[in-house]
């Protein structure tokens, strides 16, 4: 306990009353900090225990061989070296990149077109926006089941419709060459509304008078889109690119529920591999190393994007 209260009580006789009730600057400062930390504690402690410390532990684990049960054995960077050489891991990165490359153009072009179309005056606009956003709030597992049903090779509606127009529909999630395209298609459907909303928010920050000025200058609709709207929308587009890339590298739920990584591992992505390494093969060290490898890749891609930002993103 601090002795300060005692000293101030001793001063009581000589000092003016006011001084007793006003603590010194330093002690007031300390009390202030203490109160602030009390407000922070309920969130700081959980974040420390369930986020920061595990982060460090994951780093430590990645330098060991460990089956989650027995003792850990130090191997240095062996896990990393092994992973870089491992064909399955390379394949998993390959599938993840395949996913991103297929998914992003779909969701971006679709989302942009929708945002532009739904930024105009239109009756029932909010309702229509709401419909497009609906899949975003639904759980991936429910959505994946729905798509497994729609794309069911034998009785699914999609193949029935294709059959009606004379096309023999593929085994969407049973054929190795169609598994990833099916995942991509379902993901684009689910995330379209998300991209639309972010771009809509961006469109609404573009001042109306800029558009009007361009119209007065004789710019047609396409010209306005290309020379005014899109350049002013680049900050939001940049955000969409970054978020899509980060989420793309971490794709898991839909793969797990749609194909489970199959058939024949044709759609196994990085996070699925982390999960399998940990809980199926008991290689916690390798799994932790792979998770850090994923972080490094995501970070590198994000930094490259940020570096390129100045070249094409216009901030007003």
């Amino acid at each position: 306990m601090s002795t300060r209260p005692v000293t101030s009580r001793l001063n009581l006789g000589s000092a003016p009353r006011r001084n007793v009730r006003t603590p010194t600057r330093a002690s007031r400062h300390r009390r202030h900090t203490l109160i602030a930390l009390t407000f922070l504690a309920p969130s700081a402690l959980p974040l420390l225990v369930f986020s920061l410390i595990p982060m460090v532990r994951a780093m430590w684990t990645s330098l060991h061989k460990w089956n989650l049960i027995g003792p850990m054995r130090w191997v240095g960077f062996d896990n990393y070296v092994q992973l870089v050489k491992d064909p399955d891991t390379r394949a998993a990165f390959g599938h993840t990149v395949y996913y991103i490359v297929g998914y992003f153009p779909l969701v971006f072009v679709g989302g942009l077109a929708l945002a532009l179309a739904l930024n105009r005056a239109m009756r029932g606009r909010n309702f229509v926006r709401g419909l497009y956003f609906l899949p975003v709030v639904t759980s991936w597992i429910a959505v994946a089941l729905v798509w497994r049903w729609l794309l069911n090779p034998s009785v699914g509606i999609v193949n029935k419709v294709l059959e009606a127009v004379g096309i023999d529909g593929p085994g969407w999630w049973t054929d190795p060459s169609w598994a990833m395209p099916s995942i991509i298609f379902a993901s684009a459907w689910k995330d379209l509304g998300f991209v639309m909303v972010i771009l809509l928010a961006g469109l609404q920050t573009i001042p109306v008078d800029v558009q009007e000025a361009a119209t007065i200058d004789g710019a047609g609709a396409w010209r306005r889109l290309w020379s005014v709207t899109l350049p002013l929308l680049t900050p939001s587009i940049f955000f969409v690119v970054i978020i899509s890339l980060i989420n793309g590298f971490q794709v898991f739920d839909q793969v797990y529920a749609l194909t489970g990584g199959g058939p024949a591992g044709s759609s196994e992505v990085v996070v699925q591999r982390i999960y399998d390494l940990t809980f199926r093969y008991g290689q916690a060290g390798t799994a932790s190393a792979l998770s850090w490898l994923l972080v490094v890749v995501v970070l590198a891609v994000t930094l490259i994007q940020m570096r390129g930002e100045k070249k094409w993103v216009t901030y007003v």
């Binding site: 202030h32 109160i35 930390l37 009390t38 922070l40 309920p42 969130s43 700081a44 402690l45 959980p46 974040l47 369930f50 595990p54 532990r57 994951a58 684990t61 929708l114 179309a117 105009r120 239109m122 909010n126 229509v128 926006r129 419909l131 497009y132 956003f133 609906l134 899949p135 709030v137 759980s139 597992i141 429910a142 089941l145 729905v146 049903w149 069911n152 009785v155 509606i157 459907w189 379209l192 909303v197 972010i198 928010a201 961006g202 920050t205 939001s236 955000f239 969409v240 980060i246 971490q250 739920d253 797990y256 529920a257 996070v271 982390i274 999960y275 940990t278 998770s291 850090w292 972080v295």
Partner: protein, 281 residues
Amino acid sequence: MSSHTHTRTRTRTRAGTIALNSIVVIGALAMVFPFVWTLSTSLTHGAGLSATPSLIPSHPSLDGYRELFTRTPFARVVLNSIGLAVAITVAQLVTSTLAAYGFSRFEFRGKKAIFATYLATMMVPFQVLLVPLFVLMRDLKLLDTYLGVLLPSIASAFGVFLLRQAMNTIPRELDEAATLDGAGHFRIFSRIIVPNMLPALATLSVFAFMSSWNSFLWPLIILRSDDHKTLPLALASLQGQFTTQWDVIMAGSIVSIIPMLTLYIFAQKYIIQGVAGSGLK
């Protein structure tokens, strides 16, 4: 420009507008079609066994739902999901508002560094925490418990960030006036801060609820027994149990979608605002 050509361009743009609007509406219907199809499948007894069901079931039946609730502990599963989502939402609201107040209304040494650390935890993908968190929960004997699912989500750096931004827009003069009137932190907090940031609190509630309701990977690792499972987990295992009984599986999907859908209809404004707001840096 003669008035003649003027009218012609106007009719042309009008036709274009109608065409564009139709495309947008047709697209929206296509978007919703999978949900409608799910609903009609769930009402078709024996769907998936032989033929493709029709969009409007000729003999609607609730057998799928009956089977779902009698042959699996689905009612319990729904309650688990609701309970966890509510607990996580309340916990995040409390911890985030308190922290936001600390960051917004106090000056203290190391504040910037601490705030930066909060933000840093947002950048770490959950996969990195998978192994250490699993081991931690195992050591704490929390595997297959609700607490094990709940604990890592009681604080959210995103929530703190969101609420701090909102709190910074509330003028400090209000607090100062209250302090002069003799109000303590608790009074200021409950009478000034909280009532002034209800929209932000609503946004955070919706996000916390939604992410808990839909979360899959972490509950998948923690929860084992069937009657402890949450909705996404139970849904994922329906397929193994009812391989071709698509009416039962789709009934499960409908049951999992309806609570979120209801919340969405009421909170659409906050959901869309929240998503868009997070997109504006």
